[in-house]
């Protein structure tokens, strides 16, 4: 595909230490996770299309089947798809190229990261083989995760493997960005994507160990008879929830930041514009998010019996997140101002992201308000909110990244007609899926329910529409992903710099780049930026 000159050898790929190949291995793994988790999403949605058993066998065991699908969907989408898709695939492939480096700082550790990730995928997939399938949801709250008959160890080991993989990757890339930038490249000349990964990985490095600790204690409680989370023996149920969200809220920024980074790159390139107010977005936006991200986790515990003063205090910090996110948003929108925008598949996703970011971000505001969330939390309103921002905005960023850098990675062009059709189905489908869920969410439809017979009968209509939307998305996804596979094999040959970008990965390397990335060592001068298009 990319760097191989002597045909395809499996061994070369497995033992590769080339960051570009490792990136591709991450991409394949995360798209596989996305596909299986997507099939789970379809099963979940079809089950919810009507009250009472639809595809589960009967009312009594229905919950058991549905909960395994939902567990796998949530865990695989976040741990197996979004985080590795962004900080695994995109960061691996692009960071060294964007900063003009030959590879990452520790290529063999990089190989270890991707192996651990693949091991994590395999362990996660064991879900479908073991008789005691895990059913603890991706949050794994005790006491349920300790007392259930399901296999909590699989959940814990998946988190361990993915977590260890991300910690190694974080160290590796941070060192790479700090020490391996091309001579002359100052911090204010970095690509937005590099900055977004830099900040996301700092968050990753600080918080993943907390999650690893939390699930390890869970493992001890479950299998070794400790009582960390067991109040009957001096433990505390809320301790786990605090530890879990102390990581898992910052984790949404590990996803959100690189997703924004990708759209900045696409906007600047397609509009041939500099980033609007670069420093405000980097220092006031991204760096500020790093500072605030660890002080807002209680917004997931607004109705969990936390002290009232903490619920109010973290309402304020949570609302204040709108300041850095707002600055980043202004900068993203502003990058289009007076631009010369070319529309192609990546830019279709880019344009959609403006809308998705707004819907996802604005619906987060009521959820940030303690008293609003006491009604809206754990309903399908919350569900639609996080799907708009994570399930669609961030997912679209991965798709846009693949589409945008596809010529670079494969040396081929995508089929534009199929790509655009796929985009429209995806975009229309997600709106049909998630808007109805906002509406019944406000009326009280809880999440994680496979049956809802106790609610007014009109809920079923909304659920049916949502299911129809999911089927449309499924068709869109099949078109999108098959386009990648077919075009990688027999697409049209790509020119070296099809989008006319000014970023190093396009201007200074071959398409696709060979081993060692750059034919000659890269240096940049003080006037260079990835976005200085010649007037």
């Amino acid at each position: 595909m990319s760097t191989a000159s002597s045909g395809f050898k499996l061994g070369e790929w497995i033992f590769t230490t080339d960051h570009k190949r490792i990136g591709i291995l991450y991409l394949i793994g995360s798209i596989a996770a996305f596909a299986v988790a997507g099939i789970m999403a379809l099963l979940i949605r079809i089950e919810q299309a009507a009250p009472g058993p639809t595809i589960v066998s009967d009312a009594f065991t229905g919950g058991d089947q549905y909960n395994v699908w939902l567990y796998f969907h949530g865990a695989a989408m976040i741990l197996g798809f979004l985080i590795p898709g962004l900080t695994g695939f995109a960061a691996n492939y692009l960071l060294p190229l964007m900063i003009g480096a030959k590879d990452v700082a520790f290529p063999r550790i990089n190989a270890l990261s991707v192996w651990l990730f693949w091991a994590g995928i395999v362990v996660a997939l064991l879900t479908f083989i073991v008789p005691d399938k895990p059913d603890v949801m991706w949050t794994g709250y005790p006491p349920y995760s300790v007392t259930t008959a399901g296999n909590t160890a699989l959940y814990v080991f998946t988190v361990h493997l993915m977590g260890f993989s991300s910690i190694l990757a974080a160290v590796n890339f941070l060192v790479t960005i700090i020490y391996m930038r091309a001579p002359g490249m100052g911090w204010n000349q970095l690509n937005m994507f590099v900055w977004s990964c830099f900040t996301a990985l700092i968050i990753q490095l600080i918080f993943v160990p907390v999650l690893a600790a939390a699930v390890t204690l869970l493992l001890f409680d479950r299998y070794l008879g400790t009582h960390f989370f067991d109040p009957a023996n001096g433990g505390d149920v809320l301790l786990y929830q605090n530890l879990f969200w102390f990581y898992s809220h910052p984790a949404v920024y590990v996803i959100f930041l690189p997703a924004m980074g990708i759209f900045y790159e696409i906007f600047a390139t397609m509009a041939k514009n500099p980033i609007f107010n670069y420093k405000a977005a980097v220092y006031g936006g991204m760096c500020c998010i790093v500072l605030i991200s660890g002080e807002v986790w209680v917004h997931h515990l607004y109705y969990s019996g936390m002290p009232d003063w903490l619920r109010i205090g973290q309402m304020v910090t949570t609302l204040l997140i709108s300041v850095p996110v707002g600055l980043m948003t202004i900068s993203l929108f502003g990058t289009l101002y007076k631009g010369a925008i070319t529309f192609n598949i990546p830019m279709y996703y880019g344009t959609a992201s403006l809308y998705l970011l707004l819907i996802g971000g604005l619906t987060g505001i009521p959820l940030a308000m303690t008293v609003m969330s006491v009604h809206l939390g754990e309903t399908s309103f919350t569900h639609a909110h996080f799907h708009f921002i994570m399930g669609i905005f961030a997912t679209f960023s991965v798709f846009a990244a693949v589409d945008f850098w596809f010529p670079k990675i494969t040396g081929k062009m995508l089929n534009p007609a199929q790509g655009k059709l796929g985009f429209w189905l995806n975009f229309i489908g997600v709106n049909i899926t998630f808007w109805p869920l906002f509406i019944i969410g406000v009326e009280g439809m809880p999440r994680r329910y496979w049956d809802y017979s106790q609610f007014p009968s009109h809920f079923a209509g909304y659920h049916k529409v949502a299911t129809l939307g999911a089927i449309i998305v499924a068709i869109g996804m099949i078109l999108t992903i098959s386009n990648w596979i077919i075009s990688a094999i027999k697409g049209e040959k790509a020119p070296d710099n099809p989008w006319g970008s000014n970023s190093l990965e396009w201007t200074h390397t071959a398409t696709p780049p060979g081993p060692g990335n750059f034919p000659a060592p890269v240096t940049v001068d003080a006037t260079w930026t990835p976005y200085s298009y010649k007037r």
């Binding site: 709108s322 009521p366 609003m372 106790q454």
Partner: protein, 241 residues
């Protein structure tokens, strides 16, 4: 003259304060109504921000599309002052909105957490798979999740109800969609919520924290009846027990 004015102002303030206090004594807030009102304010707020950004974004995407090949954008290189201005001014606007919403949210939150003094207390215990309700006079009724047998939560109309809640096994959550409130139940802690049943009728309480394979069925009825009916019901339960 000055004195007269200040005396007037002071009495005015005193009267207002007194009225406010008097009002507080009689009127018990209805948190659900306050929630609905706040929701409309918040929606309006979101709508305005959303429209501004969306209109700008869509207009720019349309207006600034490239018209000839290899065209270069003419986006502004901000001056130092411009850059600072475009960071500080929006930051303060966002902060202003944040504090505005936080203040409004906090006001309603106080209604949610300050239990009126005359509230009737009911102890709620969640279990896999039942809801148990225990009243002051020792009456205890259980609603079975699978068979849907049991009374549910029965309360008299017009009297605030405070629920003191705990769980015997895993985390559950007592969610009253019509009263716009929920709070988790867990072993080892007692949590509370209160609501104001101003209207007779039957509504729903349903579990909102994942608790296993009957989670979706873990609901019960909330019946608001007249004080007289409630007294008869309670007496009957007492005899039955």
């Amino acid at each position: 003259m000055k004195r007269a004015v200040s005396a007037l102002v002071l009495t005015g303030l005193g009267v207002v304060a007194g009225l406010a206090e008097a009002k507080e004594k009689v009127a018990i807030p209805d948190p659900a109504a306050s929630w609905n009102q706040l929701w409309h304010h918040v929606l309006l707020d979101l709508f305005i921000i959303g429209i501004i950004f969306l209109a700008a974004g869509l207009y720019w995407v349309w207006k600034y599309r490239a018209t000839r090949p290899n065209q270069i954008g003419e986006g502004p290189q901000l001056t130092k002052l411009g850059a600072i201005g475009f960071a500080v001014v929006p930051a303060f606007l966002f902060m202003a909105d944040d504090f505005f919403l936080a203040a409004k949210g906090w006001t309603v939150w106080n209604e949610y957490r300050n239990v009126p003094r005359n509230a009737m207390e009911v102890k709620v215990t969640g279990s896999m798979w039942s809801w148990n309700f225990e009243y002051d006079n020792g009456v205890s009724t259980t609603f079975m999740v699978d068979s849907k047998e049991g009374e549910g939560l029965v309360v008299p109309v017009g009297k605030p109800v405070v629920l003191r809640m705990t769980s015997t096994d895993v985390v559950h959550s007592f969610f009253l969609p019509d009263y716009r409130v929920k709070e988790d139940l867990m072993p080892g802690r007692v949590t509370y919520l209160w609501f104001n049943p101003i209207k007779e009728g039957e509504t729903l309480a349903t579990c909102a924290e994942y608790c296993g394979n009957r989670h979706a069925f873990m609901w019960t009825k909330v019946k608001v009846v007249s004080q007289a009916d409630f007294d008869t019901w309670l007496a009957k339960q007492k005899q039955g027990a």
